[in-house]
């Protein structure tokens, strides 16, 4: 049995089910991260003493990771554009670059975590570090999820391009929407945790 509306738009929603599904998922993600940002505000306005992010965190490293993630969003959007232009080789190149940039982000984050652990700056150390670890680790897990999905579409999943081209484009678009959302979350996490 074929699942309907994976390529064509449903007449009632004006979207194919892939796009509607990923947007509904992202809406739930907005509430998940929104809850954590809200928690951050409660902790911050309720805290007697709140450190500047720079007291614990390295701003140049955080800024570098921001640039890396924005770069990966650019390569991700170029993946989709390459598919639309029918250039599969370029798609693979851009998707590979996206994955590499994501791994770079994780490696830098891993280095930051190592530094924190070696200085005993664990979540139990302070409320600031507790919310820092919670938010960045949850975001990091989203990056890992994105790498797995993008890795699949770079490797074995890309065979679909030769069989069901439009369906593959839709899947890559959905993966891209997720990836841009992950970038979006970091755009807010970086100033909130590192700079304020």
């Amino acid at each position: 049995m074929e699942i309907p509306y994976t390529v064509a738009a449903r007449p009632d929603t004006g979207l194919n089910n892939v796009k509607l599904g990923i947007w509904l998922f992202l809406a739930s993600e907005v509430m998940l991260f929104g809850g954590l940002f809200s928690t951050y505000v409660i902790l911050r306005i309720g805290g007697v003493d709140w450190p500047l992010g720079a007291e614990y965190l390295n701003i140049p490293i955080g800024a570098f990771n921001t640039a890396v993630l924005i770069g990966s969003s650019v390569t991700m959007v170029m993946c989709f554009a390459s598919l639309k232009l029918g250039d599969f080789a370029k798609y693979r190149m851009y998707m590979g670059a996206t994955i590499l940039l994501a791994l770079t982000f994780l490696a830098v984050k891993g280095f930051e975590y190592y530094e924190k652990v070696s200085h005993d700056h664990l979540p139990s150390h302070s409320t600031f570090l507790a919310i820092y670890w919670t938010m960045t680790a949850l975001h990091g897990l989203h990056i890992v999820g994105g790498v797995i999905v993008n890795g699949y579409f770079w490797g074995p999943g890309s065979r679909m391009w030769h069989v069901k081209r439009e369906m593959f484009e839709n899947r890559v678009e959905a993966a891209g929407l997720y990836w841009h959302f992950v970038d979006l979350v970091w755009i807010f996490l970086f100033p909130v945790l590192y700079l304020l």
Binding site: V30, T66, G71, L184, F190
Partner: protein, 117 residues
């Protein structure tokens, strides 16, 4: 994003411009953090720049600027409404202290030290 190769190429040009704007705004975010301003103002500046960056990502990379589906627009508008409610929750937790002068626990520590001498 949909349409012809010509349209896609136009989109690519826009992506490059957005990428440049995001790079500039990231540098601005870091530079603004070194401004010697009070914390509330620093928060406002950081949130404005982050919102500008986020709007660019959502509008152009996530193609929301071209989106015409009413279902999607309604769903996202509803999400924004609930997100705003979520962001207002912290202010409810301190609503019983509005207008009440509540000094920090160690606010007069220096004064107490003077008296001891």
């Amino acid at each position: 994003m949909s349409g012809s190769a010509e349209e896609t190429k136009k989109h690519v040009d826009i992506y490059m411009k957005v990428a440049g704007a995001l790079a500039v705004l990231t540098v601005l975010t870091v530079l603004a953090s070194y401004l010697d301003v009070a914390v509330p103002l620093a928060i406002i500046i950081a949130v404005i720049i982050a919102t500008a960056k986020g709007s660019l990502v959502v509008s152009y990379f996530m193609h929301l600027v071209d989106e015409r589906s009413r279902t999607l627009i309604f769903t996202l508008a509803l999400t924004v409404v609930f997100w705003i409610v979520l962001m207002l929750v912290p202010f409810l937790t301190i609503s019983d202290t509005y207008g009440v002068h509540k000094p920090l626990p160690n606010a007069d520590a220096a004064h107490a030290e003077d008296e001891a001498h």
